[in-house]
Amino acid sequence: MTAPVIPAALISSLSRIVGDDGVIRDPERLLVYESDGLTQYRHAPAAVVLPRTTEEVAAVVKELAAGGRAFVARGAGTGLSGGALAVAGAVVIATTRMNRVLEVDVENRRARVQPGTVNSHLTRESLPHGFFYAPDPSSQSACTIGGNVAENSGGPHCLKYGVTSRYVTGLTVVLPDGEVVSFGGTGVEEDPYDLVGLFVGSEGCFGIATEVEVTLTPVPEAAAALLAIFDRLEDAARAVTRIIARGLLPAALEIVDGETIRAVESSVFAAGYPTDAEAALVVEFDGVEDSLAEELAAAEACCRDEGAREVRKAASDEEREALWRGRKKAFGAMGRIAPDLLVQDATVPRTRLPAVLERIMEIGRRYDLKVANVFHAGDGNLHPNILFDRRNREELARVEQASKEMMQACVDAGGTITGEHGVGVDKKEYMGLIYSRSVLETMEEVRRVFDPAGLSNPGKVLPGSIRSAIRGAEEDAVARV
């Protein structure tokens, strides 16, 4: 796909701000930026700009705003909803060169980072002080804190610790007209509204975060884990419900289904999960060492009561990591058994997990599709992943229809259309399943407060009909390939 045209004068002003090596125009190099982790959508950006500081971001945004040119922030591009896609002739502002941990302030249990900082790097820098950064998306070795902020990302341990929004305390933001503002901050009481909370999860539509202040968490004294093997996926889901209802507070409760187990075991990531099982449940507790054995035993009883045929307990940290391996390598392994993977994401009330899973599998069978589930079961956050080959147009149509029905099933069960991956371009037409028109219009009006000209990541989150009703203009359609 060819990149949209962009005036040479604009390119040279951008180069003046970020240097010649900070502007990418070469079509070969632009390829990387055509999609994020959801590769069904592709759209070439007009150019990519790589600023290094808040001031540079502000200058770039001012320059683009002056010419009415749209832009989209991009972290590592691991997003799974097409959020970082450059539609409407947008320029990508990538945070790749803004990757410094600015401060680890142990005394005040916080850190300040640039938005391009990789999630796991922050934990790496905090560990020597006895702290870690709690939100741990499975992509944490690649995804950036800026991307996490924009998506309000979760992760396996968010069951106990909570998602990104609980940890972000302050933001420096370049608004879509280039003005720099700061929201919140530890010890800042004066903001009239929780603008930090509003910005987290705004998917790049309210401006670009150029500095992020987060809370650090003391590393727990110890952790203990078990792996329970089930012959039926529903039984594993029921065990999760039972563990929660029993009042136990695990740090993580993750399910890997049979399809996924078999993919992992036939890959280089083989973790020793039994390939004839239909589900494996990882249960982890952390905290004060004295109570872990007791908690783990209680969780084991819940699993056995729901028909676990085998329970493996880790006796050491190495064994614990081995138990996790099948879960952690699931995505990598699936990538090897099918050319394409549609990672779906929805949340349902935890008591509805068994019923919803059953419906999802039924939908998969009806459309003759391979569905593999790997998910944050403790939070009711499902990831039914559909394996397919996008070159097969007919199959692609079935994938789309099935994933729509799966979303509807989750909504019918009292759930929502995305638990952590965001709406992006992929789910904006599903927004009407859960929100009324007046809620969607209010969201659009709030977005306009931040971005009256509609330049910051246009074409995302809200359905086109809402955007055009309010703005009186249609935006570029997104090409699906």
Binding site: F183, E189, P218, G287, T351, D379, V423, M443
Partner: protein
Amino acid sequence: MRWLVSDSVAGVFEELLSADGVLVPSADEPWTVRGRTPDVVALPADEEQVAASLRIAHERGWPVVPAGAGRRVEARAASREGPLVVLSVTRLREVVHYEPADLSLRAGAGLSLGELGESVRTEGQWLGLDPPGSPGRTLGGALAGCEHGPLHAGVGRPRDQVLGLVLVSGDGRVLRLGGDVVKNVAGFDLVKLVVGSRGSLGVITEASVRLHPLPEVDTTVIVPCSSVAGGLAALRAAAAVPHPLAALELFTPPPSTALVPAAARALVAARVMGTRRSAMRVLDSVRKAFSSHGEVIEPEGLMGGDLFRLAGGREENALIGIRVGALPSHAEAALGPILGYLGEAEAASESREGSSRSWVHIHGTTGTLRFGMERGESDEGEPRDELERETLSELGRALRREGASLRAVRIPASFEGVAAEWGASSGVQRIARQIERVFDPAGILVEASP
């Protein structure tokens, strides 16, 4: 001719809400907004009636003060022109949905925290919301208010407890925001905007909240200290304990209870929750941290939250209540000027009847300080003199110079000008005003503090 105006306002609401949904306050129905008696107290019975009431007020430009169950509402600008309407959600107290195994509950905003707590306790659960004040506070009021109690050290802020809510905007739109599930990133997070908005964006009619399983152990250890400096040292020591505490606070002076020796100047309290085994270990560490700063007391029969509630009571009844934000490492530096100010203010008020008592509370984990003056007998909303205003203003300037920030939680009308000096940056203010226009285009909502 004010009664005529009132009469017609009451008539309009009676038509909407029928007679039992309208109250025209009189001397024996003591509703007041900053000392002014509202023309009408609207008591809608459901979400639709809330919407209809707000649509009418929006069309006519009548100022509306959203309220929970409280009869004495502190609202800014009670002096605004036109008839004054209080809209109370106290009749919306239904539990809409409760599935204990999901650890969440959806209820009407008028349900009191006490009642809510009772109904989930029987299922072995609890709600992590502890704004200062009585259990009579409503769910809606607790969420609309911007105050978090001591528990936020352990369970997070009020906004982290909310999964979804229904807001009726200032022009009567019913907005069902968020949902009932614990992870939800669909669309912009307007829930966060509404929590803590003090009624300035609309009326919360319903909320879905996260619940927690009751811990095996919920207990509080305290250490009375003979000096504030000693208290600060104990606070610091406990904050360094490498285990999560449910709450950690310093109170000076200690709230009055028989547990604390009269000579104590400060009290540090730590609340520990967990399984029996883990709580024992954590309690051990806290005891050790406290031990070199005074005699550690583990009050028999004191439920985890009791002492904190006692202290919260004086925050609720404060005539002046101010939050000061500072980095934990700067909290001590902020304390000096605050104590100085309170000393002066107390001395000034001693010349009057029913002298006020002042207090300072410090969150051990965030460094947030709250200070205030209790309401004396004769202080019913009464303006204080110029001198006191000037001292407070000076304190604000001194604290801001040190990098701290201030927010008035409760403040007499005559002090509003001082509080206005502590505003956010102009960029943030502009965004805030524009957001208000989205939710309340006619600007009828009057921000209230509980």
